[in-house]
Amino acid sequence: MTPITQRLSSIRKLDRKTTAQILRVSAHMLSLYALALLLFDYSRNNLGADPVREILLRTGEPALVLLILSLAVTPLTLLFGWKQLHPLRRIFGLYAFLYVALHLLTFIWLDYGLNLAYILDGILEQNFVLVGFAAFVLLLPLAITSNKWSQRKLGKKWKTLHKLVYIIIMLALIHFWWLVKNVYYMPFLYSAMVTVLLLLRWQPVKQKALRFQRWYRSR
């Protein structure tokens, strides 16, 4: 290798590192945006006449969006070969858990006032809450095992365990469908996105996606 190509490759390497760094920081900022805005509006007393509902909506929807984003990473890698995106799965997934936890905390604390009888009625008598709660419970082990140590420790089982995310996203969508009052634009939109992201994981479609990637990279 000539000195000049050596230098070029080291620049490219540095560049890759910087890209990864930029991607990571952007993912954190994107994930925290909704929470920052919520806190800002709260501090300005700008959450409207029913702040509890507002906080519920503004922790619930970001949770769903972040779950979808974490599910979007693999298909994007498949389509465009952007391997640098891979670490974002964990970042988005963990932030999704953060928002779900805040959502649940708002429900049991601000909405139901930590009144156990009301909370039990609220969960057991309302299917949409039951489904949402189930999603939280399933998300819990994924959040706990979202680290290199667990990944090593669990080996192959880790991958199987994290397939739970497909059940979780379904529960989250059902939760949304069941709670809206006859105006279904948003649940439809999110369901359509998830459908596309899941389809891209299905072998026949996956093959086509890989062919697309080869074409895309060879341009």
Binding site: D50, G113, N115, E125, N127, L179, V183
Partner: protein
């Protein structure tokens, strides 16, 4: 506007808590949310009883202070003018809570006419001016939304019975059918095809003649704002809020059970009677508790929204509803 002061249930003014004892619950909310964990727990535990909030005067927001009492007959504080005029379900404008206040700003409410007809002896089209000639009274009512939130609102209006007595329903009239204006130019929500506009609601003649049932033209002593159903709307406090149809242009006495907009668009979820009942769940959510706007925590929902004494006799079976199933059945 000359207003006779009257609440749903008469209480001597001596029993009404002085105004200065009540705190704006918005302030309370902000305070509580910033308090320590222990403080918050205490504030939430009881599901928001009024004693928690006894330190500062009522702040009814911009305007709207002409009320005779600061609580309903159960001792729960009125919601602020600001809350009542900025948190609305009014799908004719849009489906958000704060949208109607914004989008209804220029909604034309004058001139306005209400056509009263059908099975009556004296059909008549009333100009708004004629309707304001009925003695306008203050009625402090709880409003319980089917979405499980509630408010206490000092309405101004007159009993529907007075209007019906003037037009004299015939013996064959069994139901009253109400219709909202169809005005897609000024109601952006009506341009969508999501719902079979215009909004329709109905009551039995007995329900319509009940003294609690009013046509409202104002609140907090002020003329009704468009987002609250101006210039004239129905208020039926023992039924879920959606029964209290807004911006009425037509009242018709009929011999069939009217199909309301919600019965038509979601027949498995909304029935004709729609009486507030903690024992009868909405098919998808519980009606056992409710969140009073401005409070943290929840309070138990009362049968007939706390008006059982006045209306229970109309319903021999308290689980009365055509479509909503009692819980556990």
């Amino acid at each position: 506007m000359l207003i006779k002061k009257r609440t749903g249930i008469e209480i001597p003014s001596s029993e009404i808590t002085p105004q200065h004892l009540y705190l704006s619950r918005r302030q309370f909310m902000a305070g509580a949310a910033m308090a320590t964990t222990a403080g918050l727990l205490a504030a939430c535990g009881a599901g928001g009883s009024p004693e928690e909030a006894n330190t500062a005067p009522v702040n009814s927001g911009n305007g709207g202070t002409a009320v005779s009492a600061t609580t309903d007959e159960l001792g729960d504080p009125l919601n602020t003018y600001d809350e009542i005029t900025n948190y609305n379900n009014y799908y004719e404008f849009n489906t958000t809570k704060d949208g109607p206040a914004r989008l209804a700003k220029d909604f034309p409410t004058a001139p306005w006419q209400v056509e009263v007809g059908g099975m009556v002896k004296n059909p008549k089209t009333y100009a708004m001016e004629d309707l304001l000639k009925f003695d306008q009274e203050e009625r402090i009512y709880r409003l319980r939304c089917v979405e499980a939130w509630s408010m206490v609102i000092p309405w101004v209006g007159f009993p529907l019975a007075k209007l019906l007595n003037e037009v004299e329903p015939t013996a064959d009239a069994k139901y009253v059918r109400f219709e909202t204006i169809y005005d897609p130019d000024n109601m952006p929500g009506q341009r969508g095809r999501m719902f079979p506009w215009p909004y329709v609601e109905g009551l039995t003649v007995e329900e319509a003649m009940q003294d609690l049932t009013i046509l409202s033209t104002g609140l907090y002593g002020e003329t009704l704002l468009p987002q609250n159903g101006a210039p004239i709307r129905l208020v039926v406090p023992w039924k879920y809020g959606f029964k209290s149809i807004k911006a009425i242009v037509k009242i018709e006495l009929v011999d069939y059970m009217p199909t309301s907009l919600w019965m038509e668009s979601a027949p498995t979820e909304y029935g004709f009677y729609a009486n507030v009942n903690p024992e009868v769940n909405h098919p998808r959510w519980s009606q056992a508790t409710e969140r009073r706007i401005g409070e943290l925590g929840r309070r138990p929902t009362l049968l007939f929204n706390g008006y059982a004494e006045q209306v229970a006799h109309l319903y021999p079976d308290p689980k009365y509803d055509t479509n909503l199933k009692p819980r556990g059945s």
